[in-house]
């Protein structure tokens, strides 16, 4: 898989310790949910951020997506907790 931009917000950003990064996940990482599992294995800070993937929301190229969405063709994927705006 080619380079993919990841962006983190709120406590996901704080736990990962960075706001964004470029990654190149292996080919067998197909869905958003698999990407979260792959990220969780990258180190303690990622394991902490993604320890409860059910509460984490994702967006591909700035649109909300479900965890079973394929990441093929994505340029930018964001991970964040449930939103609390308004």
């Amino acid at each position: 898989m080619s380079q993919l931009k990841l962006i983190y917000f709120s406590w996901v950003r704080e736990r990962v310790g960075k706001a964004e990064e470029e990654v190149a996940p292996p080919k067998d990482v197909v869905t958003v949910s698999e990407l979260m599992s792959w990220l969780a294995r990258r180190g303690e800070e990622y394991a902490h951020a993604f320890e409860n993937p059910k509460v984490i929301r994702a967006a591909i190229d700035r649109s909300h997506v479900r965890p079973d969405t394929a990441i093929a063709g994505a340029r930018e994927i964001a991970f964040f907790p449930p939103m609390t705006g308004g």
């Binding site: 962006i7 917000f9 709120s10 406590w11 967006a59 700035r62 649109s63 909300h64 964001a78 964040f80 907790p81 449930p82 939103m83 609390t84 705006g85 308004g86």
Partner: protein, 160 residues
């Protein structure tokens, strides 16, 4: 339909924004203005300040999608949505929704619809500062329930 969507650090003037939507027009019969304000306490604990983090680019896109959705559901003649980001103090404005229509029902319903969606789908996150430090506000199930009631699109009878 005139629609304005702005994300900004600065405060806004709700009355001036509402006046902009109606100036020089005689087809508008109803304007609803909703202003969300920073409370001085969160879950009973006093807070010193609130910081709104947002996802630039997606926040505008997501609000635009919901404004278009509102236009498809109700006969609106104008919509303004302003959402602030950054640090704000208790008593300061956070968010503004103004809806204009010929009749009140559409304006009321669209304003509520937009606020329910802003709370649960617009990429903003609130962090509060209090004596016990900084904590991220948790999403409320009541807000999710409020947004879900719009899943079944209403007819256009609200226009009458």
């Amino acid at each position: 339909m005139a629609s304005t969507i702005r994300l900004q650090r600065e405060d806004f003037d709700a009355a001036a924004e509402a006046a902009k939507l109606t100036r020089g027009r005689s087809d508008i019969g109803a304007v609803v203005t909703f202003t969300g304000i920073c409370r001085g306490s969160e879950s009973g604990d006093p807070i010193a300040a609130l910081t709104l983090e947002h996802y630039p680019g997606m926040a505008e896109a997501e609000i635009s999608r919901h404004v278009e959705d509102a236009q498809a559901r109700w006969p609106l003649l104008g919509v303004t949505v302003i959402h602030r980001y950054g640090r704000m103090m208790p008593g300061e404005n956070i968010v503004l929704v103004v809806t204009a229509s010929s009749h009140r029902q559409a304006a009321f319903a669209a304003a509520e619809f937009l606020m329910d969606y802003l709370k649960t789908r617009a990429p903003f996150w609130k962090q509060v500062e209090s004596v016990s430090g900084k904590t991220w506000v948790e999403a409320q199930q009541a807000d999710d329930a409020a947004a879900k009631r719009w899943n079944k699109p209403p007819g256009r009878e609200a226009a009458e």
